[in-house]
Symmetry: D2
Amino acid sequence: MIQFNCDYTRSAVPEVLEALCNAKSQYAGYGEDEMTNDAARIIRRLTGDESVAVHFLLGGTQTNSTLIAAALRSYQSVVAAETGHINVHETGAVEALGHKVTVIQTENGKLSAEAVDEFLTANEKDPNIEHVVQPAMVYISNPTEMGTLYSLKELTALAEVCRRHEVMLYMDGARLGYGLAADENDLTLSDINRLTDAFYLGGTKCGTLFGEALVIKNPMLKRDFRYIMKQRGALLAKGFLLGVQFETMFRGDSMEDTLYFRYARHAIGEANKIREALKSEGVPMLIDSPTNQLFPMFTDEKLRNLQEQFVFDIWSPTLVRIATDWSTRSEDTEKLIKTIRK
Amino acid sequence: MIQFNCDYTRSAVPEVLEALCNAKSQYAGYGEDEMTNDAARIIRRLTGDESVAVHFLLGGTQTNSTLIAAALRSYQSVVAAETGHINVHETGAVEALGHKVTVIQTENGKLSAEAVDEFLTANEKDPNIEHVVQPAMVYISNPTEMGTLYSLKELTALAEVCRRHEVMLYMDGARLGYGLAADENDLTLSDINRLTDAFYLGGTKCGTLFGEALVIKNPMLKRDFRYIMKQRGALLAKGFLLGVQFETMFRGDSMEDTLYFRYARHAIGEANKIREALKSEGVPMLIDSPTNQLFPMFTDEKLRNLQEQFVFDIWSPTLVRIATDWSTRSEDTEKLIKTIRK
Amino acid sequence: MIQFNCDYTRSAVPEVLEALCNAKSQYAGYGEDEMTNDAARIIRRLTGDESVAVHFLLGGTQTNSTLIAAALRSYQSVVAAETGHINVHETGAVEALGHKVTVIQTENGKLSAEAVDEFLTANEKDPNIEHVVQPAMVYISNPTEMGTLYSLKELTALAEVCRRHEVMLYMDGARLGYGLAADENDLTLSDINRLTDAFYLGGTKCGTLFGEALVIKNPMLKRDFRYIMKQRGALLAKGFLLGVQFETMFRGDSMEDTLYFRYARHAIGEANKIREALKSEGVPMLIDSPTNQLFPMFTDEKLRNLQEQFVFDIWSPTLVRIATDWSTRSEDTEKLIKTIRK
Amino acid sequence: MIQFNCDYTRSAVPEVLEALCNAKSQYAGYGEDEMTNDAARIIRRLTGDESVAVHFLLGGTQTNSTLIAAALRSYQSVVAAETGHINVHETGAVEALGHKVTVIQTENGKLSAEAVDEFLTANEKDPNIEHVVQPAMVYISNPTEMGTLYSLKELTALAEVCRRHEVMLYMDGARLGYGLAADENDLTLSDINRLTDAFYLGGTKCGTLFGEALVIKNPMLKRDFRYIMKQRGALLAKGFLLGVQFETMFRGDSMEDTLYFRYARHAIGEANKIREALKSEGVPMLIDSPTNQLFPMFTDEKLRNLQEQFVFDIWSPTLVRIATDWSTRSEDTEKLIKTIRK
């Protein structure tokens, strides 16, 4: 069986495995080693902002909940699209920290500046304001859980709304590599840093064994962040393992030079081929997603047929998610396309 | 100005004040006194179930969050109507305890058995089940925040769904007196106890100075409940003050005999008069609510006119809430009706 | 049986009951009424600081945990004497909010400036600092749980240490009335306000039916405090009940003029008589406590004898707590003394 | 500089790195793969109990707090030695989940059955029982933070006390490998499983890149454990990475056959050599610890001298921790011994 169900089916890109095998010396613990410093320095440089704090955490749920814990006071909430990962697929991790996730309905997984403005304005006018949670942060994912992307124009508008209402803006970048490498993307790391208070560059789904690189610009969020990491089990004793992996992935003169980008670009290429095939075969898709996730709606017969060789993520009897990633083999893509066309 | 905006504008029914003034002896602390025992015994008798635990707490938000804290494990959620008090007007008290409030859209503030069944069934089939919070309790309010009531048939169906899916059912009875006293009500205290795992008889809005009487049938919820009360600041040092008030309100051979019911019946009578006037004047209403809360939609001019003498709860520029209560004076009701008819 | 076991055995001073019976008009909800404003204004005046925020909460555990929740970030702790109420008798309410109570051993229930300085200095030098909770507030009670009092000199030194280490200082004043009225007290309300970030004037144990008046000076603690109160069930719907009671207790040109002080002074007078009798009879005492709590160590026989007529709080087979309060009857005190002397 | 300061300075044993490099196929996500199943099966077999649940988590703090969160209701506490890791070096992670860590003073880092019995008995007799947190679990570490070990006799006695008082017993085995491999150890994995409700076999400090294998016997703790892991960020997307590592470490017919044991045995051998040297040189030690951690008290001069070549963990100006581990090179041990003897 060939898995196209998600983007975390294989260990890590060969360069990362090699770097880990070569890391034979002794390191300081808890991320206070030189390798981790190097990785942070490299990411600061790519971001074009020497003032940001860079922390390496282990996975997406942990990164989201640790950052959100640092941001909110007890009576404050985080605003998300109804489809947002923190709302639907983290077993209530944000609520477990004491905070409501206030949701806004969307059609494409993206929060529009207008919808957020309308919500925040209504909240500020609520006469029972102290009886209602206080929104203090907007959470977006980019790419979203539906594979869609924010444009520079959209993110700029959203950031402006957040600034005006004095709420923070945080971007979950679990698949940011696949976003940056998408054909239609017009955001740079520098734009993202300029427009958000914090964001992360996902490693787990983009080629490392594990790990996410969290970039924090807002000074309030930087404060004592390592305490919060430690308290939440997010400070790895052998933190240097994260340093080694991210140094390997982000070394390079520009984002386009990095292994991170180049492997993501490969995944996008494979997705593009599948998307073309689906379109030319007239398979309807839930949404037009330009990244590594596709949402075709196959007929029952076609789906059964495909499932003899391929594993997909089943969202409903007729809707599946197909994901490519850095490890997708072109021969597997070809096989899939051939079966789709049959 | 005459307040019709809510049902907690005056202190307490005279009999309660008198009982408090007569309570001059020394009592044991923290509700371990005879007066509190008496009040609990009386409520058990009215409920027709000697096995229930009765605890007296201070207010609605506190009662809801303490009971829900006792019910849920960390990854479990409580299901509520989107308009449910715990979802909208408790500043995220449930989330502050670590639990998601999972909401279902409704038109009339009531959760139907069908909607809950559909939601719970879908949840049980979710292939990512461990990534999603686990619903473990259904919260309803009766009367609802929109003044509507559950019928015996509706509550029976809902209870059956909960039992089938092994989730608990809890009824917020902040205004239960006004529900029991409504013309169209067909639920007895014994029905409510039989069909739910826990419910409370609201005092604050129904004639006491403060306090709610929580009735717990489910043995799992009874366990160590006083620990949880104490931890959450809900164990009043002078607990006997609650005993004195509830003993006064619930003394009687049957519910209909109690001061609690008779004062609620007064409020319903006043609401009925206002409802009739609104109907005969052709004022549209958001919903047909049979209890002490009415939701007329006045014209701008009419509203401005009324607001010269009366205070309402303003829900939107054209929608107001009018509430009567045990303390509503018939002359004030007459004045209001006269002004509506003008 | 005559109860000398605690200071919350009777309802309220007659003037408070009378004021509640006279409060017949309609009030705004949730403490936004004029009566509550008046009570807050009066307390601000007695404190001599127009800038403080005054909030009325329902009980001690609730007040402590709500204030501490407002003060600490998730990884921060509150430092207390091992005997501190938050450490031993609130069922872990502070921990339930996510915070460690870091304890310092004491002999008399008081935290000395030296002990706190030593602890905070050691913490700041800890090389594993991010692996250890960060102390951010010092909690003291005055009078302490052992009936002892802070002098102006002691509190000044402690405040100086807190300021130097940039931690907040909070005083639990559940029995502050009995502290202010004690013969050896040299602290004024103005001193306490000047030297702490927040403190409360306890009502429950000092003559009201219930309620505590929290005085907040530190602007950081004032922020959005009503949200936190509401979330924690500490915002009473009929908040005016607290306003009525505290306005009655604190009306007056100076603290000495208030009912609060005068009733406390009565309790101190009764305690002084009992203390004298214990001393003259040679009954050893655990500690020399100048307030309304005494800790005699009776012989087994003497204790059994006393327990025929009197209820004490039993701390160990040979150690009991005797408490007087505003409601202690002089004839009961006389009976107790007579029995002690027998 | 040669690091003897802790046991997490190098990546992983070569066999683990090799296994990771060879894991090139696609795996199911979140630990639902065959490799993880194999690793769990192997550990169940070594434990001699097919009924236990085995979960793989990422680090010690995460494992402790996730297991404790599963065990305790909101008002319950965990009892630990004052030196216990959860009490001193996890930034209040247990309290962040809402639970008090109740501490007992010890001299050697171990909780004796007598001390625990005395504490639990006193708690059960507390007349204010509902005002005090309810102890529900005893936490021990083995080896302890001071390098000491529980004997079979001691653990049996402690387990009996826990059973009698109906509290659970949990063993933190961050360094369990070094405990099992110590000369004076008389506990088997089967004993530990029989006497505790849950324990973990630490990987991070004993030869894996990261990861801990949690073994749960108590059915109450098993319930829905993966939900809690996911909520707390402890369910690794590429869970198979843990499966690969633990399968490699624990493969073998008996514990003595496993890489886990053999590498631990190496560390013990190196520690034994250093201990002998310290003893023969008359260097006093804080405690007689039979595992991989030693606590010598050097003179100032000697320490300065050693610090020219070696890094230790500095506990106080005169007390250091020396730790060996699976990666300690015999030539480095020789150098250290030579310098000690100089």
